[in-house]
């Protein structure tokens, strides 16, 4: 039985794994913002800076994963 052969770089898989956590985190951040705004619409402007701050801080982890995927990828292989 011929098995399929996969070529490529395992750092891509590593990036996929690294994106799971930040994905959940960004989801939680936006869910909390929507919930806060639905409960108290006048607080939307007040919490917006925190929304973007929390979003940016969680997203940074996924972006590190992306950068490291390129850093540790082996173009020769």
């Amino acid at each position: 039985m011929a098995l399929a052969e996969i070529t490529g770089d395992i750092s891509s898989i590593g990036y996929g794994l690294a994106a799971i956590g930040p994905g959940i985190g960004v989801g939680i951040v936006f869910a909390a913002y929507i919930q806060a705004t639905a409960r108290q619409p006048e607080s939307a402007g007040l919490t917006r800076p925190y929304l973007f701050m929390g979003f940016a801080l969680s997203e940074a982890l996924a972006l590190f994963g992306l950068v490291l995927a390129f850093v540790f990828s082996n173009p020769a292989a």
């Binding site: 800076p49 973007f52 701050m53 940016a56 940074a60 972006l63 590190f64 992306l66 950068v67």
Partner: protein
Amino acid sequence: MSLQLAPLAADVPWPPSVEEAFFPPGVAGSLWVTKFSIMVWLAVAVIIVFFLVTQRNPKLVPTKAQWLSESIYSFVRNGITKEVIGHEGPRFAPYLTTLFVFISFINLFAIVPGFQISPSSHIAFPTVLALISFLIYWYQGAKKHGFWSYIKTSIVLPAPWWVQPILLPIELAQILLIRPVTLAVRLFANLFAGHLILLVFTLGGFVLMGSGNIGLAAVGVISWGMSIVMTLFEAGVALLQAYVFVLLSASYVQSSLADEH
């Protein structure tokens, strides 16, 4: 049905490599004058001229251009500095507005036809911007508290003594390393990834078109459609990342100026 786009597919570099996509040769054979330095000079020149012209002769009833420049400034001054830093905020509004306008401008080069790549997708440019913010929040903290007591107020948190051996190094790394590195890498990686996504959809469209299979060619059209959608998405990302960079710079300044934890 013959696919006339087939010869085109041979011309596109597939898969797109980082070297080809991100390091175009210097302009006119020079190593130092590159597409990126020209874009940065252009951004600086346009921003200076725009603000000089619109604020040279300010009217009580503003013209459209004056209204635009004033609302950009008041967006940063009232929307970011006052909200995040507090009553000391407006002192930092000129720097943060400059930062916001400059980063937005160089980010938007990523979707301007003819440029199609942003200087921010090279790590050098965000690094310098992050270093400036880093120096400003260290300088402000040291000026307010004194150098050593700034470090002390920043890294000593109210926690049980047995947690401090773990906490102190983390907090020190936070103000020394993590904050500036994340500032730079966030901006860089967003624009870098955005450029790669646009490349994959656009060049992938050519490759699918040239595959000689009618079904795959149809997918190629979808791929080009997606590249248009992603271009609009990149416009949003460009402005959002400029906003996030300024917001985080402001919050770092605020934490430097804060008295106690």
